[in-house]
């Protein structure tokens, strides 16, 4: 994955005939060629010695054009010098469309190609001024949301920098220029409609809902109860719509407790909401108290309702000052509250920034481990996972139902409920199940993607931005690492989701909540990311996947097992190349193919036998000649 096709091709050409090149299986080459995830992953090619063969420069990608999606238009192209942090300046031509920045090297010995969706750009800065003297000191520095920077040096004369700066700013930050995001211009067609993946009624029906205790309500059909909640909600049967309205008044942003997941056997539930509006004076609300009790009683359990407040307790207390707070013992007799000590969006943002500092452009050499520790990133991952394990365990053990909230119930709460559901319900570990999980717990329940990512927005320092969703995907990756056979999807699936979290090519992650999406007619006017993925599922499948229904997965939330996700965070560094666990995977795939082949042969043989054709004469050759025998070490 770290090498693009053209560099591979060139590589193979360049090797003298005497050297026997390990032949790549065609599957691998083609999968690289078809890697449509917009990635700049071609640094590898720059490692080639500079004095390498020039004779094949003639073939150097001359007839390749800039890739273009339907609806994508070329705006400009410029000759620039790309200042590669790993291998120094490289002359190239940059093409800017309304969707991407595409760079192709003009140097004969480098096939560097770069394909960056403009949505990934978080900040564009000019470097150097009119008086800059040093070589390549005048140009642009582009900070990306996906852990890298791009630097281009431009000629001082002819306003080329000003042009490029303005065009990039315009198309990378369309919101400030009253332009639409590219997703609204994208005319791609797929044979699957990703918008059809999630249907809340169907998903609740899968969970066995509605039932005697829980009902589906349309009280929020026009988002009048809660603007940031989905139209369709599952609430206790015994709570009337009026009850819900009164509870809404006591929950931050009206995000009332509603069902996320119900255990198919013990009927314990995971319920999510925002913090109660307790305030300094310690306000109480009988309706809210009663409502929580109703939730507790849905499974006729006498145990208390467990409330997990995702925040550190100090923060929960501090929230009282702004009108928020938590459920106190004296008001909620039948509930037990635990704090999960997960920090807020600002802490997470700074933590990720530190991760970037130690991995880009160069990986911290001498004190890698302590530097990693000082970012606290894995520590945060550990806490999120620990919280989710606790939620899952409470529900799975049948001890009690669980209510989860943080402040507003759209960041940490979404992380906890979705991870707990992933641990509890094997359905969410399939490709479509995971899409439904994201669609449900994140998108429909109003994780503020637009604010957290800042799609098309130039305010790079906005305090609302935070890598909460990335952190969730990282947790999923950690789980998939610990349970390599439990997930239908592979690492590429997760990376593709993250790439399109920023790309603005699909409507999936745009805007902050369902009501806003409805207003903008997102499902009608844009394509869903799941269309891309589901129309090409094979690429995203984990061959080791073993479907196991009703198996609860508890990852080990210990630093001994948590790892930095190198293939995501350090993927731009050619020295830290994708390791090759893929080799194991590849070997497995070969065996799979062999098995299928044998099964086919066996069927053919059976057919031949049953039709009583004399086997000796028709058999074209001996079996050992016909098929490659497996090399085993038995």
């Amino acid at each position: 994955m770290g090498v693009n096709l053209s560099s591979m091709r060139r590589l193979r050409k360049r090797l003298p005939l005497s050297r026997q090149v390990p032949r790549l299986p065609p599957s691998r080459v083609s999968s690289m060629a078809s890697a449509s995830a917009p990635k700049c992953n071609s640094h590898t090619s720059e490692n080639e010695p500079v004095k390498s063969t020039s004779q094949d420069g003639v073939n150097c990608d001359l007839n390749e054009t800039v890739p273009r999606l339907p609806g994508e238009t070329l705006i400009t192209d410029k000759e620039v010098i790309y200042i590669c942090p790993f291998n120094g300046p490289i002359k190239g031509r940059v093409y800017i469309t309304n969707y991407r920045l595409y760079l192709r090297s003009l140097e004969t010995d480098s096939t560097l190609i770069f394909d960056v969706p403009l949505g990934v750009i978080s900040r564009i800065e000019k470097m150097g001024g009119a008086t800059s003297r040093g070589e390549n000191s005048y140009g642009l520095d582009i900070t990306c949301k996906d852990m890298r920077n791009l630097r281009f040096a431009l000629k001082q004369e002819g306003h080329s920098r000003r042009d490029m700066f303005e065009i990039l700013t315009r198309y990378a930050f369309p919101l400030a220029h009253s332009l639409p995001l590219f997703a609204f211009l994208n005319e791609e067609k797929f044979n699957v409609d990703g918008w059809m993946v999630y249907n809340p009624v169907e998903e609740y029906r899968r969970q066995g809902l509605p039932n005697h205790q829980w009902r589906i309500t349309f009280i929020n059909k026009c988002y009048e109860l809660c603007e940031t909640y989905p139209a369709l909600l599952v609430v206790p049967y015994r709570a009337s719509d009026d009850d819900l309205r009164r509870v809404a008044a006591f929950r931050s942003r009206n995000r009332i407790p509603v069902l996320s997941w119900i255990h198919p056997e013990n009927k314990m539930v995971i319920v999510r909401c925002s913090q109660p509006l307790v305030g300094m004076s310690g306000k109480r609300n009988k309706d809210d108290e009663k409502y929580l009790d109703v939730i507790r009683e849905t499974n006729r359990q006498l145990s208390k309702l467990t409330i997990y407040d995702a925040r550190p307790s100090v923060n929960a207390v501090a929230n009282k000052a702004t009108g928020g707070g938590y459920e106190s013992d004296d008001a909620y007799h039948n509930a037990e509250l635990f704090f999960l000590d997960i920090h807020n969006i600002h802490v997470m943002r700074e933590s990720l920034k530190k991760v970037k500092d130690i991995v880009y452009p160069n990986v911290e050499e001498s004190h890698w481990l302590s530097s990693l520790e000082s970012t606290h990133w894995l520590e945060h991952i550990k806490l999120v996972l620990t919280g989710a394990i606790q939620v899952a365990d409470k529900v799975s053990s049948g001890k009690s139902s669980v209510l989860v909230h943080c402040s507003d119930g759209w960041d940490r709460t979404a992380q906890l409920t979705s991870l707990a559901m992933l641990m509890l319900d094997s359905f969410y570990r399939s490709i479509e199940g995971f899409e439904i999980l994201v669609q449900k717990e994140w998108i429909s329940f109003g994780h503020k993607f637009a604010s957290r990512i800042g799609h098309g927005d130039k305010n790079h320092a906005d305090a609302d931005r935070s890598p909460i969703f990335l952190q969730f995907v990282d947790c999923v990756w950690q789980m998939s690492k610990q349970f390599p056979t439990a997930f239908e999807f592979n690492e590429r699936f997760l990376i593709t989701i993250l790439d399109h979290l920023y790309s603005c090519r699909f409507g999936t992650f745009l805007l902050n909540c369902e009501s806003a999406r409805e207003k903008q007619k997102v499902t009608e006017r844009t394509v869903s990311l799941w269309s891309l993925i589901n129309s090409n599922k094979e690429k995203f499948k984990n061959p080791f996947y073993t479907k196991e229904i009703n198996r609860v997965l508890y990852p080990v939330a210990s630093m001994r097992h948590l790892e930095l996700w190198v293939n995501y965070y350090i993927r731009w560094n050619p020295r830290i190349k994708q390791q090759q666990p893929n080799a194991v995977e590849q070997r497995y795939m070969e065996l799979l193919a062999l098995r299928d082949d044998y099964i086919k042969r066996l069927e053919e043989l059976q057919l031949a036998n049953s039709s009583k054709v004399s086997s000796a004469s028709t058999s074209p050759s001996s079996p050992s000649q016909m098929m490659p025998h497996v090399q085993t070490h038995f």
């Binding site: 090149v21 700074e350 911290e364 960041d411 196991e548 044998y598 043989l605 025998h629 497996v630």
Partner: protein, 693 residues
């Protein structure tokens, strides 16, 4: 395994036996004393093994779901091992017995495997050695394979406590004579059993023929010759009877300083350049002798500096590289991270895990070794020069670096027999002082340095990064590392081939993994497990290294260039050495820690899928073959050895199914201060205007 009877959830209907008591209420043990004495679990003794002392009514603590429980039984000490015999040994189910270690049971500790012994006196933990005045109420044993045992002696008769404690301390810690190694009594007693000569393909390098074969294999025979000048150890006891030197080197030179100061051949590269080693001449003050040394060395260099020999680059490992002291210090710190007494300790250290790891420097030392090996590889492969490794005795870092270089450059060394032959050539015949470095005789702690383990850890990094390039898996390496402390195999119990030859009169058992079926000591595990040990991914490795097309003149370029190309698993192999790529050998180091167990997960999950698939393909293949020769009936399905793959844990096959319940393990320690981010942490996620509420 012992947990089985205790945890109701996992064991099903089985109720806890009265002999299993929680150690918080250990008084109960007295009520059961009768029952205890009635049940005698037999102690399994190896041929030649003798029971030395024993104590009954000992409680062994078992970690279970963050609480400890006691299992009652006998603690015995033989001249081979310390063993705990639980009164209620739960019957092992099939999957468990299948992968059971055949020599060392779950509660067996070979005497050589004992690292440190602690006694607990009034809640205080003290290291135990020598003569004791007072006997502890609790015994904690830290093992070299990183197991930790806790034995409670509070209910044991006083004289039995005295006998067992002093017995254990004496037999594990008092200096021992070589003659008293269990190895010899075992060999004498087991003669009849091991009489069959092993059909072993490992090259032992104890004959001239073996060396000639190796020279031929690497095409080193053009410029180097095998010599028998040291036959019968006439010249020195440090060198093997046979070894290889540059062809023109006169035998007289070998004799001159008892083998010091002469270049000894390790390996030849496909391009003709060679890896050589030399032990330094004795240190001298006297000017005259120094002058003699100098002219001797000049003479030597003249021989190997001339064509047909390549230019020689010397690499002084005793002055410009790691010191043995550093290695020892780092490992002592490192191993402490895994010798964990209880759950609290595990989670307390978890939060500082990375900085603790870093402060041990063990991973950094691995990195430096790998880097040095890459540098030397670059010289041989790219610069086409000879590399001469220098070290005082040429038997520590020389062994490490030269064998690492060979693993990286010579695909043959990545097969199982190739790797074993390499260990035989570079370590056993290379005169690595296993006896001293492992401190098997407890004669001097100062000499104890885990050089060989460091080598295995370096190889593990390569296996981890490039699994398809090796015929063996990490499990093989882990088992190999354990065999260092099992005095049945003679391989790692001598300081030199001379010492071995003078003490062993017959060929002893060698490495455990390639013995023929008839031998009872063939493997640690049953045959089936060998599937796991053999790497299923390694395709046949036979090709030698291809010639590289470009010569670079520095390390970085060489390294980057190699890594920018697709990996040829049969060719040169260079490890990634960046910080994130050097990892902890989790299988070896974390295998006994229940908190670190991933139930139904870990690498074994994919491995067992692979095995299942291989078996399926194989049986299909057989079916097709049979159809073609249709006289045969269909055979029974190949046995599926890992049928319950989902139930295996990441600790497989070492600590089997320690945790039967599916309860998650939750961290118990709190949050570490954020330091400079404190102000951020206090902020609201976003400004919430709740004024109108």
């Amino acid at each position: 395994m012992l947990g089985k009877g205790v945890v109701g959830g996992g064991g099903g209907t089985k109720t806890p036996k009265p002999s299993f008591v929680s150690y918080v209420r250990p008084e109960e043990i007295h009520t059961n004393e009768k029952e205890v004495t009635e049940k005698e679990v037999t102690l399994h003794l190896l041929p030649g093994e003798q029971l030395l002392c024993e104590a009954s009514a000992v409680l062994k603590y078992v970690q279970e779901e963050s609480c400890q429980r006691g299992v009652c039984g006998r603690l015995v000490c033989t001249d081979f091992k310390i063993a705990f015999l639980g009164d209620d040994e739960p019957a092992l189910d099939n999957a468990e017995t299948q992968f059971k270690n055949k020599i060392i049971g779950e509660n067996d500790i070979t005497l050589h495997c004992v690292d440190q012994i602690f006694g607990v006196f009034d809640e205080k933990k003290k290291s135990l050695f020598g003569q004791l005045k007072k006997y502890p109420e609790k015994l904690i044993i830290h093992c070299k394979d990183l197991r930790v045992f806790h034995f409670c002696l509070r209910y044991t008769k006083e004289e039995e406590v005295k006998r067992i404690v002093s017995g254990i301390i004496h037999h594990t810690q008092a200096p021992k004579l070589l003659k008293r190694l269990f190895l010899f009594s075992y060999a004498a007693a087991a003669q009849s059993i091991i009489a069959t000569s092993p059909k072993d393909h490992t090259v032992m390098f104890d004959t001239l023929k073996d060396w000639c074969w190796e020279l031929e294999r690497t095409k080193g025979n053009v410029k180097y010759k095998a010599v028998s000048v040291n036959e019968g150890y006439r010249i020195c006891e440090r060198l093997p009877a046979y070894f290889v030197v540059p062809t023109p080197l006169p035998e007289e030179d070998v004799r001159r300083f008892q083998g010091h100061g002469i270049p000894i051949w390790c390996w030849s590269c496909h391009n003709g350049s060679a890896l050589l080693k030399m032990s330094a001449l004795p240190k001298e003050q006297d000017d005259v002798i120094l002058q003699i040394h100098k002219s001797f060395l000049d003479g030597i260099y003249k021989i190997i500096h001339r064509p047909p020999y390549e230019i020689v680059k010397t690499e002084d490992l005793s002055s410009n590289f790691l010191s043995l002291q550093e290695i020892q210090t780092a490992y002592s710190k490192f191993k402490q991270l895994f010798l964990i007494d209880n759950s609290t300790e595990f989670w307390d250290t978890d939060i500082k895990w990375f900085s603790l790891l870093e402060s041990s420097s063990w991973l950094d030392i691995i990195r430096r070794c790998l880097k040095k090996a890459i540098e030397i590889t670059e010289c041989l492969e790219a610069q086409n020069v000879n590399v001469l490794l220098l070290e005082e005795n040429a038997s520590d870092l020389c062994c490490l670096i030269s064998s690492l270089v060979q693993v990286m450059m010579d695909a043959h060394c990545r097969t199982k027999t190739g790797f074993q032959s390499l260990i035989q050539k570079e370590w056993v015949m290379g005169g690595h002082c296993f006896l001293d470095r492992c401190n098997h005789l407890r004669q001097s702690d100062k000499e104890e340095v885990p050089v060989f383990l460091l080598f295995l850890d370096c190889v593990w990094q390569l296996v981890h990064q490039f699994p398809p390039a090796f015929e063996f898996t990490e499990t093989y390496l882990t088992v190999l590392s354990d065999s260092l402390y099992i005095p049945i195999f003679s391989t790692f119990f001598f300081n030199s081939p001379h010492q071995k030859d003078t003490n062993m009169h017959r060929r002893q058992l060698s490495l455990p993994l390639t013995q023929p079926k008839s031998s009872p000591k063939r493997g640690f595990f049953r045959e089936e497990t060998d599937h796991l040990i053999k790497n299923l991914l390694g395709k046949r490795i036979s090709k030698l290294i291809n010639s590289s097309d470009e010569l670079q003149d520095n390390f970085r370029e060489f390294y980057d260039n190699w890594h920018s190309k697709p990996t040829d698993y049969h060719g040169l192999l260079l490890p990634h050495i960046e910080g994130p790529e050097i990892k902890v050998w989790a299988q070896r180091y974390l295998r006994w820690i229940p908190e670190a167990q991933i139930l139904g997960g870990g690498r074994v999950a994919t491995m067992s899928k692979l095995i299942e698939m291989m078996e399926e393909v194989q049986s299909l293949q057989e079916k097709i073959d049979e159809r073609h020769h249709s006289q045969q009936r269909l055979q029974a399905e190949a046995p599926c050895l890992l049928r319950n793959s989902a139930r295996l844990s990441s600790l497989f096959p070492f600590a089997l199914l320690q945790r039967h319940s599916s309860k998650p393990i939750l961290p118990t320690s709190g949050w570490k201060a954020l330091g400079d981010e404190e102000d951020l942490a206090k902020r609201e996620d976003e400004f919430v205007d709740l004024g109108d509420v």
